[in-house]
Every structure is written in C-alpha cells, then in structure tokens.
Symmetry: C2
Subunit: 456 residues, 2 copies
C-alpha cells in the first residue's frame, strides 16, 4: 500500500494523490440506493492523459483495482469504490479543447460538466442534446460511461449517438484511439460505441470527439391532464403513430404530481391522474402543439393547456425536473427504476407498476420519458424501517421482471452498475453474458477495471 | 469435401445446397475491382434460422471457412469467396416479419432488399432512411454488414443508427440475441453496434430490429453551378455552419458531370467545374432552398436553379445516381474510393485528388456526399493496359493517404473487405488492431468467418 501511494506520486503532483480518509469518504459512492461501497486505498485526480497512463500502469504493475469516477451522480452504483481500490476521478480533466461549427464537433476532456459544454456550444449556435436530469453536475465522461439519456431523447437520441471518437487509456496504460472526427466512418469494428455505456469496465476515456447539432428554435410546451394513465398512454401512441416528432414527451402520474406540488407548490393540477407534457422545437411549434392537443382531447384529456411563451414552458419543465427530488422528499429515500418498454406497452407497464405498489403496500411514483417508453418507477420508502426496505427492494425487482416480460429492458439510461448486475445476466441470457465477458477479457485481462460492476 | 456436402444436406433442403460450378461461379465475388476471389466448395441458400445454425455447426465441426453474402453489390470485396469455403447466401431469408408504426420499428430477415423494405414502410407512413446507391438490389443484411450509407446520411445518418437489435448465429451455431425493440436501452456492452460494419466476420445476422422515422415531406432539390470545387466546398461549409439541415448535399465535379451527360444526355451544365445538389424535406423546402441558394451565390455560384417540383427534383437525383455507371463507361473499369474527411477539409481533399490524377495521368472523377465530407474519387482506367492499371492502383492508395493526412478515414461507407485491409491497419494503428483482433477471437476462435477480410 505504501508502495502504491509512493509509485502513484512518482507520476502525479502531490495534490492529485488524496489519502485523507475523510476526503476519500466523499468519493466512496454515487447516488444509488442499496448499493455496496468499499473504502478506497487512494483517490487520484489526474490532469493529463500522461498522468492517467501513469495511474493505470501503476495499477497493472501492482494489481490494484481502479474505479473511474465522474461527478458521482449515477443511479446504479457504477462509480462506487471497492475496498483497497484506486478511485480515479476525472473531474480535473475538464477542458473543452475545440468547438468546430463547420464540422459540428466538440473535442472535450472527460471531466467537462454537461451543462458547461451545452452552454459553450449554444453560444456558437450549436446544440449538444443529451440532457440527463443531473446535467448541471454530471460530466461528459460519466455520460459516456453510462450512455446517459434525458428529456431530449425522444427526438435527439442518447449520448451514444453523439460520440464519434474516443481516446482511451487501457488497463495497461497504453493509449487507444477509436473512431473519427468525420461525420461518417466504418473502418473496422465500432470500438467507440463499445466504450459508450461500458461503465468504466473496459478503459478510461480521456478525450472525446462529440457530434453537435445546429441549435433548434426554442421549444414550446403543452400540458394535458388525463383521467387515467391508460388514456394518457393512448395519446402518446397516437402522437407517435401519426408521425409527430416532439422534442419532449413526458408523463407524470398522480403520485409524482402531488409530490412536486408538496415540495414546490408549482400549481400543477392536483386532481389529474396523469399529466402529459409535450413540446416541439419546430419552426411552428404552436401549430404542432395544436395538432397534438387535438389528439390528446380525442384520447380523453380533460384539459389541454399550451404554454403561451418560453417562460411558461420553462415552468412546466422545472416542475418535471423536480419530480425525483420531490419523490425523495415523500419518505426520505427512493429507489429509481429505469425500465424501458416498447412504447406500445407503456400503459401495461404503468398499470402493472401500480398493481405492484398495491401488492407491496408502497408508494411508487411513475415519471416517464413516455415518448421513448422509458419509465422511472420510483419507490418511496423509509430506510429505517427494515420491512418497508425489504418490500421496496422486492417491488423494484418485480418492476424489472415486468419490463422484461413486456419486451423491454432493465435499463433505458441509468446503466447496470452494482444495482442490476443479476438482472443484466437475466436480460442478456447465457450466450450474451459469455460474449460480453469475452470482450471484457480482451480489454482488461487482469480484471482491474471497475471490478464487480455490470457482471455478478 | 463429400463429407461437407453430405452433412450440409442433412439439415438443408436439396435446392438450398448448390455445387454446380457454373452457378457457384456467379457467387464468387462482389462488385469491387482488384480484389482476389477464390472458388467456393459449396453455396448454401438457407431459408430459416435453424438452417443457418446447421450450416455454422457443420462449418465448425469440419473447420470449413464461411463467407456470408447478401446481394454482392459491395465495393470492397468483403463478400468474395475464398477457396474451398461455404458461401452462405442469405438472399432467400427475405421476409419482412413486422412493421409497427407505434413503436416505429420493423423486424426483418437479412435478405430483404433495401428498396422493398423502404417501399413497404412508406405505405405505412414510415421511412427507413439508409439509401445506398444500390438500394434496388442490396439487402438489409449486406447493409448491416458494411454499415452502409447513402445520399440521406447528411440528415439521417447511416445504417448503424437504425439497427436496434439483432439475432446472430455465432460461428459455432449458437444463437445470440443483442439489443432491443425499445427506443432506448443500455444493458451491457453494445454488441448490436459491434456487428454493424463487421463484414460478416463475427457472426451471421439472421434477424434485425430496425428503427423507422415518420415519413418526411417530399424533398425539393436545388442545383448550383460553381466555377471551382473550392468555391463549391466553401458553399457547403457555409450551409452547414449556418445551421441548415439539408436532406441531401451532393457534389459532382466536372469529370462526373461530363460522364453523366455522355451516358444519358441529362442536360447537366457542361461548362460547370462543380455541380452542387442540395435538398430539403422540411415543411417549407422552397424557403430553405432560397436561403441556401443565397449562400451559394455569395460563395461564387454562377447559376442557382431550384427545382420547380418533385419531377424536376427526381431528374436531378437520377443524374446524381447515374454518376458511378457513367464514370464506369469512361474507360470500362473504375476503382471507387470512399474517403471521408472532416467537411472543413473537403476542398483540400478534392483539390488533392485532382493533383493525384494529374501526377498519374489518369481520369479521376469525384462525386461526394459533400455535406458529410464523404468523397468517392473514382479512378477510370483501361484494365487491359497493365501500366494504366498499376497507376490506377497507386493513385487509389495515394488518395487514401491524403484522406488520413487530412484527419479523415479510409472508408466512410463502403467498408474494408479485401480492398483496404492494409490501410485499415494503418488507420487503426497497432493498439487498435490488437484490440480488434481480440474481439474477433472472442466471437470466432477458429477463424472461420469470412477469413482474410478486414485484417491482412
């Protein structure tokens, strides 16, 4: 251990090597509930590719596991420390190296905060779409590690679709360059995409070439109240079937609406069973909202309220973004699930979740990136009550089982981490797990990169 | 060999096992020039997943290499037979299994022809964008194997972006299911994307879940004449920098324009140095074309002609699609390159190609998916002239070297196959090649799948 710290210090400035137990404690885990976290041997905060290479060479030589970290806003325990590990925090590598409006790319280090990049490119008339709820804190490196999504995905897709090329430090410290700076490219296997969503288990991303879009017109939001989640789901299917391309299509159930009103008194309609938010960033968003409003009414909406302007739209989005903290406030702790089903099965997923909540006597709020069928059933419970905690955990598992049954996946955007590794095996099946483990072995033959994550 | 044929027949109907040398000859190669092709031991045409599994189990048991094939319209020799191999043609597995407008997906077998699928989904108000030039012949399985592009990519991206999930028969005959039917999903490593563009070297795709878009309005095309490729490239950069999203942005150089006029007398402007085609499928394409037309004029266009209607637009697209056959007619044979550079380097790429043509005393027409920086320098030569053939080959290599120098890739959409395997190693570098070979080893430990392709 003394050897480890000493060797690390040979290639890192002293302030980049942290061994104070209190400080290290703050690097122990991300924001997931119910996920084991160990005590790191050391936390390192490199500022250059060469320093990361030194860390990985040291780790390989001394056979010490490495847990890469961004801002630790993850919701699956993928960034949790393991006992005796090196926590490799990339937050100090936070430079935007290039923004190129002709090629529509940005080149960044992994520690850049999502919102910082988003604002920087917006100033150049460009748009970096991925917008996880934690966008003001989370880093691009973390977004790449978990293939993060957000509210924009229904129109703009997930992080994976914006990563063109990567520089990756391998487990043994060598540098691998993947992908390209060009709009297209098919030279060999797509290693770039392999790293996106690999949760730090294949290598350390130290630089990324990201694709940008031209900035769209400001979006205009509509809110529609429904007497049931079934009628709201029906409206969502109608909107998508008729060929609309909303920039946002979100659903909040009654529990979520009540929680937000309780937390922030946003004046959301307290009597609604399901609140649908739809938005367009098209040339004529009011016309698109009018068409979608008619579909909502036809599907049974009791009230359809288009925002008058950007300020009203912002308020509705703020309410939506408050849902998770609001649900947390209900009982103190939440487990946020992330089941994505084909959107045609959305009603079945939401109704099934309600049945599970009733079976276990729990409050489970459902907020959903509904246009993508990506639901976040959020189990609210009192962690000091062992029986309620047990029921919370069991209901969480049952929700994933339901998702798989409906042709869905256990994770639409939060990843596997520690939280869902048993369930990953269930989703992939034995042949899938064997191939995935084979790939892990190619990149990390000693099993040093984020061990215990993804696979049980 | 007798053993091979006999064992294959045990799990395949007799008409699915072809051993007639003349018939087999027609399965020996794809459409690439200068690529070796061997003589297969047998051609099989399975009609079911189980039959493909039987073929692969047989191949593994008897250690016989397998070359998977679609319509053999590829341009890199990736589908070329090797001596003694099993050619595994997927063209008889050509069913569209499902089109779902709510989930916006199609589920297809690999032998479905691109145009057949495109038309089938269009009847349901949906759009499958990838449109390689060979779309009337090429199969979805082949498109997945080479990660095909087309004219639409500047707005809609390449095949990879439309593949959500795959069923793959592995080298040993086991079935692997990757990906999902859902809009989002991040469960484990992205094996789906790994198979896209793997040129049949990792497994046999037997079923694909494809993402669809809502059908856009019909596109309207504009033609602009430029006094030089440099001014045309400048216009392209301006169009993209100003945030336009054309559905097509194509460039034909003087050689290409002349060739098309010579072949088909389309009435393209014979005096232009560079013809730019731009299109929009937006709600108001005429307004977008007007804005782009102004940018073209400002960049130096001598003539800007927006199409009046869909019929005029179609004529321009027909002319563009005729370019490759027209260049083929110039000297009998062509080598089509596929170098993609950052679009800001487009002018340097095109001018550099002209210098290479002059250096080698050759005719090299350049047609480009210019909005993506994806150029197709097409070397026209007389294959019966050994010296001209040698110069053609050398200029082809020099074009790729130029592409890499400009920060580009050796292949934007045609793939590596046999044609560019030495160049793949050059682009990836030794670490990249080692990792790619490691992945190949995981899926195909005996090296039976399309040997000699991708890697030298």
């Amino acid at each position: 251990m003394a050897d480890l710290i000493e060797t690390l210090r040979e290639g890192l400035p002293s302030e980049a090597v942290v061994t104070d137990p209190d400080v290290m404690g703050s690097y122990a885990n991300d924001m997931a509930s119910f996920c084991e976290a160990g005590t790191p041997a050391v936390v390192v905060l490199p500022r250059s590719v060469e320093q990361v290479q030194h860390v990985m060479r040291t780790a390989t030589r001394l056979r010490v596991p490495v847990v890469p970290q961004g801002a630790r806003t993850g919701l699956s325990g993928a960034a949790n420390a393991s006992d005796g590990c090196i926590v490799l925090s990339l937050v100090k590598m936070d430079r935007i190296l290039e923004i190129n409006p002709v090629d529509r790319i940005a080149v960044v280090e992994p520690g850049v905060v999502n919102a910082v990049l988003s604002r920087a490119v917006m100033e150049r008339g460009l748009y970096y779409p991925p917008d996880p709820s934690s966008w003001e804190q989370c880093t691009i490196g973390g977004n790449i590690g978990t293939a993060s999504g957000g509210l924009c995905c229904v129109k703009y897709g997930v992080t994976a679709e914006y990563v063109l090329g990567l520089d990756v430090v391998l487990a043994d410290g060598r540098l691998l360059k993947t992908g390209r700076r060009t709009a297209k490219g098919v030279a060999g296997y797509d290693l770039t995409r392999l790293f996106v969503g690999s949760e730090g288990s294949l290598g350390i991303v130290v630089r990324a070439v990201l694709a940008l879009k031209p900035a769209p017109p400001e979006q205009l939001v509509l809110a529609a109240e429904f007497p049931s989640t079934a009628t709201a789901s029906d409206a969502i299917c109608q909107i998508m079937e008729r060929g609309h391309t909303p920039s946002l299509l979100e659903l909040m159930d009654r529990t979520s609406v009540h929680a937000v009103n309780a937390l922030a008194n946003m004046g959301l309609p307290d009597t609604t069973e399901a609140l649908l938010l739809a938005a367009f960033d098209t040339p004529d968003p009011a016309a698109d909202l009018a068409a979608v409003g008619e579909l909502c009414t036809a599907a049974g909406a009791t009230e359809v309220v288009p925002a008058e302007d950007a300020a009203e739209s912002d308020l509705l989005l703020q309410a939506r973004r408050l849902t998770l903290p609001a649900l947390e406030a209900v009982k103190g702790v939440t487990m946020i699930d992330d089941v994505c089903v084909p959107r045609s099965r959305l009603a079945a997923m939401i109704d099934g979740t309600a049945a599970i909540a009733e079976k276990y006597g729990l409050t489970i709020g459902v907020v959903a990136h509904a246009g993508d069928g990506n639901t976040h059933p959020t189990v609210c419970f009192d962690a000091s009550d062992p029986d309620e905690s047990r029921r919370a955990r069991e209901s969480f598992d049952e929700i994933m089982a339901l998702g798989l049954e409906l042709g869905g996946t256990i994770t639409g955007e939060h990843g596997v981490g520690v939280l869902k590794r048993e369930w990953l095996a269930r989703e992939l099946g034995p042949v899938g797990v064997e191939m995935q483990r084979g790939i892990k072995q190619v990149f990390d033959p000693l099993g040093l990169l984020n061990p215990g994550k993804l696979f049980a």
